[in-house]
């Protein structure tokens, strides 16, 4: 499956008509949304925690140079090596070089969105190295040749029956008559298959939720424990992550670790929080003998000093995705990009260019839920609006939209004309409404084809206001 953000409108339309997607999208609210709400309520003063998280990340984003240099020195002091990659191609080359130097043939992988972003797996395969995803969701979609549909639940779009079909098709050495009806049978099968891969791997690649500059540590949060087996069993451990993940020290990490799981899955803490600082210590009987960190820029640094800078605070919890009505309708694959939902809409136009990903910024009702739940208070709608303005200013917006906006602006500057127009529109929509919603209009139906519009109650706001006074 190739990723094409420009195909978003068509992909969104077919996603809306995909019956298999409905049950999965229903779980956004019942599982993630409800879980977060409960965790927030139980914590007590969650607002102060969000403010603290925002301040920590703001400090980091505006001191990236200092913190990255401190991080590098601390990693070096522990016998590790830091590599700097300007873009995806450089990151891929650096990682391949480390693996080739280590003589690696198979590499286990913990969950990492940055390695999705740089399309690492196909590159390694083309160079004779087998990557094995070990996060259950990532493993399932790797077997199916699909990209993740959600940043913390990569196989979010699949049912357990689809997972069972995939295992029957791909685990051909196992008894074809075995039962895979229960979810736990699927989990146990993956555990057994992947444990052999862990034991045999030459190298392990993980991402990082945070980098702690002072201690030279990478921190990951997981529920499965796959990230730890990825680090601890092979000879070489490579951390691949974005330059913006760094914070000052472990005390900052301790604050963010309170914020991340609650915002993501509603857990007070992830089952495993692992602080990984360099190679195995003197006398320790396991842990990697070589430790590398690949810091990936790939469009991040150019967001500094722009109106989109705040997006660099993101800790990739997915709360914005889980509360987004657009993601909730079309799912993750429609975006055709590694980052989907509101965070994708704010990040992708900046990293990939507005010409590539403007559709993402346009795919928002500006309801504002994303900003309300963001643990580090990123003004996501504001950043999306910024990308829309950039699209408009650079003449990239479709003609119909530019003309429509020009017409609207003409009327909006003339109050009498605007009021007259609005009262006609309200009356027309009222006439066309059926059962509380307008589902079609007699002219070109593009907008209404996939949306309903609530029937106006009666007179316009201005008319009612006038009557009241």
């Amino acid at each position: 499956m190739t990723l094409d953000p420009k195909a978003f409108p068509q992909a969104a339309r077919s996603a809306l008509n995909d019956p298999l997607l409905r049950p999965a999208l229903g779980r956004l609210k019942t599982h993630f949304g409800a879980g977060r709400a409960m965790a927030v309520q139980r914590y007590g003063d969650f607002e102060s925690l969000r403010d603290a998280g925002k301040a920590i990340r703001d400090y980091a984003v505006t001191h990236l140079d200092e913190l990255l240099v401190t991080f590098e020195q601390a990693v070096n002091a522990r016998g590790g090596t830091v590599h700097w990659a300007r873009d995806a191609a450089e990151a891929r080359r650096l990682i391949l070089g480390i693996l080739q130097d280590a003589g690696a043939k198979t590499v286990t992988k913990g969950k990492s969105m940055v390695t999705e972003e740089i399309a690492l797996n196909p590159f390694l395969e083309a160079n004779g190295i087998e990557p094995v995803e070990t996060d259950l969701g990532e493993y399932i979609i790797q077997l199916r040749g699909e990209p993740p549909s959600h940043i913390i639940a990569p196989a979010f779009h699949l049912s357990k029956e689809q997972v069972a079909e995939t295992f029957f098709a791909r685990h051909t050495a196992l008894d074809p008559k075995r039962s895979l009806e229960e979810r736990n049978a699927l989990v146990q099968e993956a555990r057994a298959v992947l444990r052999q891969r862990f034991e045999a791997a030459d190298a392990g690649i993980t991402g990082a939720n945070f980098l702690s500059a002072k201690e030279g540590a990478a921190v990951i949060v997981t529920n499965e424990g796959n990230g730890d087996l990825t680090r601890l069993l092979p000879k070489t451990h490579i951390v691949v992550t974005g330059i913006e993940k760094v914070v000052a020290d472990m005390n900052d990490v301790a604050v963010l670790v309170r914020l991340l799981p609650r915002s993501a899955t509603g857990q007070p803490i992830s089952t495993y929080v692992s602080v990984m600082a360099g190679r195995r210590g003197e006398g320790e009987s396991d842990g990697p003998r070589d430790f590398h960190v690949v810091l990936v820029d790939n469009g991040r640094s150019k967001l500094i000093g722009t109106e989109a800078q705040d997006v660099l605070r993101c800790i990739r919890c997915s709360a914005c995705i889980n509360h987004c009505p657009v993601y909730g309708a079309v799912g993750g694959h429609a975006y055709g990009a590694t980052y989907m939902g509101p965070i994708g809409a704010a990040l992708n136009p900046g990293m990939m260019g507005v010409a590539e990903a403007a559709h993402h910024a346009n795919a928002s009702t500006f309801c504002g839920r994303c900003a309300e739940v963001c643990p580090v208070k990123i003004p996501l709608p504001k950043i999306m609006r910024h990308w829309r303005a950039v699209e408009h200013a650079s003449g990239l917006a479709p003609k119909a939209i530019t003309r429509g906006l020009a017409l609207w602006a003409f009327a909006a500057k003339r109050p009498a004309l605007y009021r007259f127009g609005a009262s006609i529109a309200a009356r027309l929509l009222r006439m066309m409404g059926r059962g509380g919603a307008v589902r079609a209009v007699p002219v070109k139906n593009g907008w209404f084809a996939v949306r309903d519009f609530p029937v106006p109650e009666g007179k316009t706001f201005m008319a009612q206001w006038k009557a009241r006074r």
Partner: protein
């Protein structure tokens, strides 16, 4: 220009203003007994917590946990573990790393009451991978080693070891239909024996 120099130069050239150093955050403090808070929170995360009066009760508790889980009377214990001198009676002791179907006995040097978390700094006497390899982990924890929050563990450690593992229950996944299943890669069960003295 190298990648490193170019990235750092880009960051410095583009930056407009710098945010101030944030004030130290102070998390809501645990009210009441730390042992009780720890046990309550870890139990809520699908682990079993047993409170013992002394180390002398550990062997019988280990045997009982294995029986209750229908597992063989066999446990993996690192040969240089502080528990190695303990006479485990009828339970066979193995020194090699546990497989995905074995039980392991470990010592947690610290625990955190706020989140019901065991803290394992990597040490010579206890390989970090042992917290992820077995099917069942039985952890021995002294009640006096329970602290309020993660920051206290960091302060006690001073310098970080190569790996610090924080464990708050058995391994789990929600990756299939967002429904929790235990025993994804790490242990399917975790029992903590909290020893009062």
């Amino acid at each position: 220009m190298s990648g490193r120099e170019q990235i750092l130069a880009e960051i410095r050239a583009r930056r407009l203003a710098q945010a101030p150093k944030p004030q130290r955050y102070s998390a809501p403090k645990i009210e009441g007994d730390l042992v009780e808070a720890f046990a309550k929170r870890l139990s809520a995360q699908h682990a079993e917590v047993r409170i013992l009066n002394s180390m002398a009760e550990v062997p019988e508790a280990v045997a009982d946990v294995l029986r209750a889980r229908n597992m063989a009377a066999r446990i993996h214990l690192p040969s240089d573990s502080p528990l190695a001198s303990l006479a485990l009676g009828g339970v066979e002791v193995r020194g090699e790393p546990p497989s995905a179907f074995d039980a392991a006995l470990t010592v947690a040097p610290f625990a955190i009451a706020e989140t019901g978390t065991l803290a394992y700094p990597a040490r010579k006497v206890e390989p970090a991978s042992w917290h992820f390899r077995p099917l069942l982990e039985i952890a021995v924890l002294r009640a006096s080693d329970i602290v309020g929050e993660l920051e206290e563990v960091l302060a006690k450690l001073g310098t970080l070891p190569s790996t610090l593992n924080l464990v708050s229950g058995p391994s789990r996944t929600g990756d299939i239909e967002q429904t929790m299943e235990l025993g994804a890669h790490g242990p399917k069960a975790l029992t903590v024996l909290v020893v009062k003295e």
